[in-house]
Structure formats: structure tokens, C-alpha cells
């Protein structure tokens, strides 16, 4: 299972290195969202500074949708789904591999977006440990739930509209949790942030387990 996961993750990351879709399209989109928030919320009145953690995670969430669509569209093209089923790869391994690849891309995106926030919104960054751990669990949550629901929506004509409808309500706790944890870290009171990390940890574990067991049946149909 682990071997299969690494094989799939390696393939997906190689695909990204060769095509640069996330780098050339998703990252600029994320930065664009940051700039749009600045237009919508007047930076001079302090609104932007107070809303920074929430805006950061909303930007991550929207970019994640694009990254997920990309990650799943490469598998639904031209018989790749059949090829995967014929390959003898463990479905759980395929799931974990895709999650790993998406999470890696999101992590890079989060770091760059963090730099963007620090520069554009002049945020003073404190509470490094909490920030980093929050990023890890939130990214795992988004990648796991996103990959599972992405496959639910994959291969259908309505997938572009179905994935946000399914995924965003489910990710609401992650958005709330990651935002509160960031607020706590930036406010210098990390102890308020750790319960949220725990909640997101539960969420991530739930979806990883669900994906490991549910991915087989999802690949199987038809």
C-alpha cells in the first residue's frame, strides 16, 4: 500500500513538474484572491488586518479546489481510470498517493501565500509552532476530504459544480478551526489554538480512514 502510494504521489508530482499547472495558474490565482480582498476590505481601516487569518484560509480553500480539479482530471482523461483499475495497484494506496501529492502542492502554495500575506497585509508573524502544525493538519484535512469527494464528482459532466457543493460545507470546520488557530497564534495566545488543531486532527483521520476504505468501491463502479 505504501509503495503504491509513493508511486502515485511521485507520478503526480512529476506530472506537476512537467506541466507546471499549479505553479503557473493556481498560485497566481491565490495571490489574485489576496489582492481582491484588499480591494474589498479597506486596508486603512484595520479591517484587513483583523480578517487576515480568515482571508488566508479562504484563499487556500479556493486554490485547493482548483488543485483538486487538476489532480482528478488527469485520472479521468482517456481511459486512465481503467488503466488504474487494471494496474493491480491497491485502491487505498492510490488514494493516499493522490492525497500526498495534493498536500505537497498545497503546502508549497501555503508557504508562498504566507509570504504574500506578510508582505501585502503587513502581518507580524508570531507563534511559529502553532502556525506550522495548523498548516499540516489543515492541509491533510483539505487534501483527504478533497480527494475523496473529488472522486465522487469525477468523470461526470457536472463535476466542476458538484465538487464545491459537496466539499465546501464539509470543510467548514477546517476553515473555522484553521482560522481560529491562526488568530490565536498571531494574537500571541497559542493555548487557545491547540483545541482547534485537535479537532482538525480528528477530521483528517476520519477522512483518511474513509478514503482508505471507500476508494475501492468508488473506483469499482461501471
Amino acid at each position: 500500500m505504501l509503495r503504491d502510494a509513493l508511486l502515485i504521489a511521485g507520478k503526480d508530482l512529476r506530472l506537476e513538474l512537467r506541466s507546471r499547472v499549479a505553479l503557473n495558474q493556481v498560485l497566481p490565482f491565490a495571490l489574485l484572491v489576496l489582492v481582491l480582498f484588499a480591494f474589498a476590505l479597506d486596508p486603512d481601516r484595520g479591517l484587513l488586518a483583523r480578517a487576515t487569518p480568515g482571508l488566508y484560509w479562504v484563499a487556500v480553500l479556493f486554490s485547493a479546489l482548483l488543485a483538486l480539479q487538476r489532480s482528478l482530471s488527469v485520472e479521468s482523461a482517456d481511459g486512465n481510470r481503467d488503466a488504474l483499475r487494471l494496474s493491480g495497484l491497491d485502491p487505498a494506496g492510490i488514494f493516499l498517493g493522490k492525497v500526498l501529492a495534493v498536500a505537497t502542492q498545497l503546502a508549497v502554495l501555503e508557504v508562498l501565500l504566507g509570504v504574500g500575506v506578510a508582505v501585502l497585509y503587513t502581518t507580524r508573524i508570531t507563534g511559529w509552532v502553532l502556525l506550522a502544525v495548523t498548516c499540516v493538519v489543515a492541509t491533510a484535512s483539505i487534501a483527504a476530504a478533497g480527494t475523496l469527494f473529488g472522486v465522487v464528482a469525477a468523470g461526470l459532466r457536472v463535476r466542476e459544480t458538484l465538487l464545491p457543493l459537496l466539499l465546501l460545507p464539509v470543510l467548514a470546520p477546517v476553515l473555522i478551526g484553521a482560522t481560529r488557530a491562526f488568530e490565536a497564534a498571531l494574537a500571541g495566545s497559542p493555548s487557545e489554538g491547540w483545541p482547534w488543531v485537535g479537532l482538525m486532527g480528528v477530521f483528517a483521520s476520519l477522512y483518511i480512514v474513509a478514503g482508505v476504505f471507500g476508494f475501492g468501491p468508488l473506483l469499482e463502479e461501471s
Binding site: L7, R14, L15, R18, G79, D82, G88
Partner: protein, 228 residues
């Protein structure tokens, strides 16, 4: 090509009894009876929509058997059709290749996914004439014939026990078609069994040991059930 024969030679590789398979609500196979002995090359004939592609996909364990009995390579498809998948090689209309990866990446990935070693991928690339400049070209920039060769390379690297080929000659030049025939003969010599559909009638009649004709999702003619 290494031998790959766990099936005892007298046992039929494929044994279908009244197999019904559905595409959505449409019974593309409406009761197929078919028996294929090992090491044979079988040509599937039939008009468009007769059920050739569905039959090949059902044999590969991709489509569920809705009614009837089916055994492929000793695996009961009704009970567990997943168990047969990694032992067959299916070449369909779709290539199953990642457009943004290179030829070499694709063959290596699918070979490793099937549990083959790096050597097998390398040999397959050489065999299909893809070991040179083409190895590092992205699949999206290949011609149809070159894509076909890449798919075939992925297939060879898997070393399947049962080859299921949907129009393997399509899109290939003269050399490519000859190469396909040679590869298939070698595969049967090494113990594998081949089912193919083709519009290249003269060529495939020469290649095939027997001809099975299907129409309306059932077998209407079979030139020989007897073992060679």
C-alpha cells in the same frame, strides 16, 4: 519475453456461459458462450456495436457479469473480477497515458504499477522503437501511431497472461503492424493467449488460429473450439 504460464495447458483460459453484461441499462452482451484454449490467437469479428469492445472489457474484469458464468485464467469473474485484472493486458481505444508525462515516464510508471521491474520497461521501450529521442517527448506531442506504440510498450512490460486487444493495428504503419503480429506470436509461444478484434481482415486471418463472430451481443459463429 519470459514465459508466463500458470494455467494448465488443457484447461480453457476463457470459459463463458450465457454471459450478460450491461452498459448502463443496455445489455451489450446478451448471453455469450465462449471457450478459448490456452496459447491460441482468437480473432473477434462483428459489426460496430456487436459487443466486441464490451466483451474484451468484461474479460478484463472491468465490467460486471450481470448474468451467467464466467471464468478467466481460473478466476471466477462473478465472485471476484478484480483478481484477474493484473494478469491481463487490455489495449483499448483510449490509450491510458498521461499527456503531460514523457513516453519513458509513462512506460516506467505503468510497468512499476503492474509490479514489473525497470528492466522490463526498458526492454519494452527498445522493442517498440521508443528508446531513442522519443523517450523524452511528452505524450501530448506524439502522433496517433506513436501513442499506440507507447500503449503497446506499457502492455508488453506487464507481461500479461491474456492479451485483449481492441483494434491493435489501427493507426500503425506497415512496420508497426508487422511488429504487433510478431509480438503476439512470441507471446503465445511463451504461453499467453490472445483475443483481438481488427479491421485488418487479411492480416488477422493469417495471424489467428480461430475466428469468433459475434452479433447482437451473442456468438453467432465459432471456427473451432478444439485445442490445437
Amino acid at each position: 519475453m519470459r514465459p508466463s504460464v500458470p494455467v494448465p495447458p488443457t484447461e480453457a483460459v476463457i470459459r463463458l456461459r450465457g454471459v450478460v453484461a450491461l452498459l448502463g441499462r443496455f445489455p451489450a452482451l446478451a448471453g455469450i458462450d465462449l471457450e478459448v484454449a490456452p496459447r491460441r490467437i482468437v480473432l473477434l469479428r462483428g459489426a460496430n456495436g456487436a459487443g466486441k469492445t464490451t466483451l474484451l472489457r468484461t474479460l478484463a474484469g472491468l465490467i460486471a457479469v450481470a448474468e451467467g458464468q464466467a471464468t478467466v485464467l481460473g478466476v471466477d469473474l462473478v465472485a471476484d473480477r478484480r483478481a484477474v485484472r493484473h494478469r491481463v493486458g487490455l489495449l483499448g481505444h483510449a490509450t491510458g497515458l498521461y499527456d503531460d508525462l514523457t513516453v519513458g515516464d509513462n512506460v516506467r510508471f505503468w510497468a512499476r504499477a503492474a509490479g514489473a521491474e525497470a528492466d522490463d520497461a526498458e526492454q519494452a521501450l527498445v522493442r517498440l522503437g521508443l528508446a531513442g529521442r522519443l523517450r523524452s517527448v511528452a505524450v501530448s506531442r506524439l502522433s496517433a501511431g506513436q501513442r499506440r506504440r507507447t500503449s503497446l510498450a506499457c502492455l508488453i512490460a506487464r507481461r500479461p497472461e491474456l492479451w485483449l486487444l481492441d483494434e491493435p493495428h489501427a493507426g500503425l504503419d506497415q512496420d508497426g503492424r508487422d511488429l504487433v503480429d510478431t509480438i503476439l506470436r512470441e507471446a503465445t509461444a511463451a504461453g499467453a493467449t490472445v483475443l483481438l478484434s481488427s479491421h485488418e481482415l487479411d492480416r488477422s486471418l493469417q495471424l489467428a488460429d480461430e475466428v469468433v463472430t459475434i452479433a447482437g451481443g451473442v456468438v453467432v459463429a465459432d471456427t473451432g473450439m478444439s485445442a490445437p
